[in-house]
Subunit: 228 residues, 2 copies
DNA sequence: ACAAAAGTGTTGAGAGTACACCCATGC
DNA sequence: GCATGGGTGTACTCTCAACACTTTTGT
């Protein structure tokens, strides 16, 4: 089997799909697009597309993310590669799935597409999805929850400055369980990954201190679980 | 951008690479093959090859594993997908990397190839490797160590029956650190993932009880770290 | 009897968990 | 002054880590 023979084989199509998570309205949401062409025309799907031949995989994922949300410079991670021969009935299609989490209100979800065709969906009320995208989403959600437990990924869901109550609420929404307020605060503060910004957020009730994520804390956070 | 246009694009070559770990002579080893064709002719490389167009990714990895080792039915896991456009200078090459761990003495490393071209290498004395395979190996090793800490993957490195000292030694070799005998035994036994087989291994010194892995224990092991 | 490897408990320190009330502000 | 959300401390339990000697066999 030499190189000439390789070139006689058919080659697969290579795509990236990017699962984009955000917190909206007290729920975890994902950004989906409505397909404009077959197969699975008019079904909702995870944003994605073909990888250019001279483009790195992660670069393609970053490009897709920017096309759909206008965001750049966000936390993006390779999730898994899906390549079942029957996932697209008409062609062999390999999808390298990435996932990321973004602060909801920094996103313009319709930047590059017709507004009708890109929108957020709560993970608890998803529409029918194209291809094996339900499986990809399930997998992404497991990975997100898992990462939340031992890394600082939770901060990516929030704006630069946030209150401890907002942070706790983020964890509760993603993990799907309630946490004790005092224990949460003790643990997050003793982990040394956030610092007070000195400002306060005012609103109903007592004003809350604002915190920000400490950039220099990434490495140490990755070493140990943050939450039980 | 429709399907006809897709077909005009060049498509990448799709390969799987399988990192195969085993314990031999008190060291962690990987199985490498010597390349018989360009690029990187005569360099050592991780076993792998093209995915057939109608073949699932994992099926291709299993096939490769069996071709190189004669083993089937082993623990195999997708590691990461490497697709930098410049990893092969002559063609766009996507590699979905898998890794597995096998009991060393159950392997006939030359089953399907010339003996000269397949052999075990200690991870502490690797030869120069083709492509980005040093990176793949580094990544596989991190993942193996990490998995060892919170799953039962260590048992895959041993024969069906083993002594506690052998199991501890396995962990020590893979993690690269020594462990306390009493703490190790207490922890592994209280985790309830192994059971005595009733037999003993005799040799120099006092005979050791033999244990085996409890098949029904997989799920619970994955839930919690086994070792610090 | 001795060499060689197997096997066995206790204690102190730190982390996790459960739990209820006072504080600062806007209206 | 009251409604609303922000902020705080303690006691118990459990897990982890450190540490050294006795037991069983083969020669």
């Amino acid at each position: 089997m030499d190189r000439q023979q390789d070139n006689l084989r058919q080659r697969p199509l290579l795509t990236v799909d990017v699962v984009i998570f955000a917190l909206r309205e007290g729920d975890l949401h994902v950004l989906l697009v409505r397909r404009k062409r077959p197969p699975h025309m008019d079904m909702w799907a995870i944003p994605g597309g073909l990888v250019e031949l001279d483009e790195a995989l992660e670069a393609a994922a970053v490009r897709k993310l920017e096309e759909e949300t206008g965001l750049c410079d966000v936390y993006l991670e390779q999730l898994y590669t899906f390549g079942d021969p029957r996932r697209d009935p008409s062609d062999r299609l390999i999808s390298v799935a990435y996932f990321c989490v973004v602060p909801a209100n920094s996103v313009v979800p319709c930047a590059s597409e017709d507004a009708e065709h890109v929108r957020w969906w709560s993970i608890y009320g998803l529409p029918p999805l194209a291809f094996d995208h339900p499986q990809i989403l399930r997998y992404a959600l497991i990975r997100l929850r898992y990462k939340l437990e031992y890394t600082a990924v939770g901060f990516e869901l929030l704006p630069k400055e946030f209150t401890l109550t907002e942070l706790q609420s983020t964890y509760e929404i993603v993990l799907g369980e309630t946490l004790d307020k005092r224990n949460f605060r003790r643990k997050i503060l003793s982990a040394g990954v956030i610092e007070p910004s000195g400002l306060q957020r005012t609103g109903e009730g007592r004003p809350a201190r604002l915190y920000r994520y400490r950039e220099d804390a990434v490495a140490e956070v990755k070493a140990r679980r943050l939450f039980p």
